[in-house]
């Protein structure tokens, strides 16, 4: 079972955790992305996330489905934020439950690694003296 959401409201960690609860699960692994206060020692003021919404949702669904096929996991919840975020706020939360914990760790890491590679979401870092689209240039 899969729960994918692209939200402009603050993410709820417990919403993801609650979705993956299951009597057959022995555990859940949760990844909580947070906005760091600096990149390469430069102070970050805030971040702005934008998404190509229908494709972003579709790509996140594909990732979750691939994880379900590849690992022995029960449920997956992926919530991603769009819009402005300040230091310490949450761009992404991923929760995965499984009968055995090893699969939950592997699947959760697979989901966040894949999300960063394929999901059409873009992050702009705003500094005191400028801004940059992350990862745009080599």
């Amino acid at each position: 079972m899969i729960d994918i959401q692209l939200l402009s409201t603050p993410l709820s960690i417990s919403a993801c955790e609650t979705f993956v609860e299951s009597p057959e699960a022995g555990g859940a692994v949760v990844f909580i992305g947070t906005v760091r206060n600096k990149t390469a020692n430069k102070a970050v003021v805030r971040l702005e996330f934008e998404a190509y919404t229908p494709m972003a949702i579709r790509e996140m669904e594909k990732i979750a489905q691939t994880a379900l096929d590849k690992f022995a996991v029960s449920k997956i919840s992926i919530h991603h934020h769009v819009g402005i975020l300040n230091i310490g706020e949450l761009p992404v939360v991923i929760a995965v439950s499984a009968p055995h914990r090893g699969a939950a760790f592997d699947a959760c890491e697979f989901c966040i690694d894949s999300l960063k590679q394929t999901v059409p979401i873009w992050k702009k870092e705003i500094f005191e003296d400028g801004e940059v689209w992350v990862a745009a240039h080599p």
Partner: protein
């Protein structure tokens, strides 16, 4: 035909608009489209990558672009 290509992130900054209108001949491929865009906007050459999505799926070079397809320019993603 005229394609209305969606732009996001740095691609929107380079094009200067949320939609890039492009006159192309019917039956061009994603590779043709990319070539056309790169020649019109050489700044795309400086990006780490540039993908083209066709109907919300990543297109490959051989994918044929049709008149009513939803086309989008996908610069390097940075979600998470």
């Amino acid at each position: 035909m005229t394609l209305e290509i969606l732009t996001f992130g740095i691609a929107r900054d380079i094009v200067g608009s949320t939609i890039l209108k492009l006159d192309i001949t019917e039956g061009v491929t994603v590779a043709d489209l990319k070539k056309e865009i790169l020649s019109k906007y050489p700044r795309f050459e400086s990006l780490t990558s540039l993908m083209i999505a066709v109907n919300t799926e990543y297109g490959n070079d051989a994918t044929i672009v049709k008149a009513h397809d939803e086309i989008a320019l996908i610069p390097p993603v940075s979600g998470g």
